[in-house]
């Protein structure tokens, strides 16, 4: 039942598994503070590591986090080019988790 692709996903997920992890509701509760730190140019991932950890593991929350960040950046007048650079920086900085 496990194909190579599944096996890779499973092994990476197990390697990233921690005893303590936030679940989606706890992450959601912290998300507004987290994105405001990011918008202020602060290291939100370092300040709120459990939120960062959850975002790396949970596709649903990651999608919503990205959408919120983009909406707020646009509201603040970020241009598309700045948005793309921000996304690229984020992509290269993070160790990508399982989808």
């Amino acid at each position: 039942m496990l194909n190579p692709e599944d096996l890779g996903k499973l092994a990476r997920a197990l390697d990233m598994t921690r005893e303590e992890e936030l679940a989606c509701d706890e992450c959601f509760e912290e998300l507004d503070r987290f994105v405001e730190m990011e918008l202020a140019g602060l290291d939100a991932a370092a300040a709120m590591p459990l939120v960062q950890d959850h975002l790396e593991k949970c596709g649903d929350c990651r999608e919503e986090h990205q959408a919120l960040l983009n909406a707020l950046r646009t509201e603040q007048g970020w241009t598309p080019v700045r948005l793309i650079w921000a996304r690229l920086r984020r992509f290269f900085r993070a160790d990508r988790g399982p989808d």
């Binding site: 197990l14 598994t17 679940a23 507004d32 649903d60 919503e64 959408a67 909406a71």
Partner: protein, 207 residues
């Protein structure tokens, strides 16, 4: 639109200026949702208005839960994004049953044989096959059927947690915990057998 502090937003949404504040908030939500879904949904204007309305109702019913730890509009947009994604995922996965996803995965024909393609040497291939068999045994012995099915749907087939949860009569938060428990159990079993997750990655050529 006039600028408001958090206190002004709350006071106006609860007071005599409610209509104007509500309209301003609606406009903020619609703008944010249009950014999020531009090019991704048909009828963007109408969809954004509908989703903003649903979010607005939820926000106004939950003003007491705003703790003032962020800007009020950030807090509100966070709710809108969640409401919007919940609805869009529901639409996208509407016609797909959990059983279908699991059967598709089982019938995908990419079983153990497919490993041969990526093996660099016979020894490597043997090691990898043994690791697959070991992990499959651990999965069978350690996880409940519910955990196994959720793992297939979410981890391997990419079904959103929220949609998988709906199909097994639970919610997204509880399903995350169920999968977290499953991962912890498997990790502990691997360690109890004298292995580490790093060694598993190594054996399958991902380390």
């Amino acid at each position: 639109m006039k600028k408001r502090t958090n206190e002004q937003w709350l006071a106006e949404l609860r007071g005599r200026e409610r209509d104007r504040a509500t309209e301003d908030l609606r406009a903020v939500l619609v703008r944010g949702l249009k950014v999020t879904f531009a090019g991704r949904v048909r009828g963007l204007d109408e969809t954004a208005e509908d989703l903003a309305q649903d979010a607005l109702i939820r926000i106004l019913n939950n003003l007491d839960s705003f703790r003032g730890e962020s800007r009020f509009t950030t807090w509100a947009q966070r709710v809108a994004v969640r409401v919007a994604y919940t609805e869009l995922r529901r639409r996208r996965w509407r016609d797909v049953s959990l059983q279908e996803v699991i059967e598709r995965h089982e019938g995908s024909g990419r079983g153990l044989g497919a490993l041969t393609d990526r093996a660099s040497s016979p020894e490597r291939e043997t090691e990898r096959k043994m690791m697959v068999e070991t992990l499959q045994r651990f999965i069978a012995e350690e996880l409940t059927e519910r955990q196994r099915e959720a793992m297939v749907a979410v981890m391997y087939e990419g079904m959103p947690l929220e949609e998988a949860a709906r199909r097994i009569d639970t919610n997204r938060n509880a399903l995350y915990k169920l999968l977290h428990d499953a991962r912890k159990k498997l990790k502990k079993r691997i360690e109890a057998e004298g292995l580490s997750s790093g060694e598993v990655l190594e054996a399958i050529g991902e380390g």
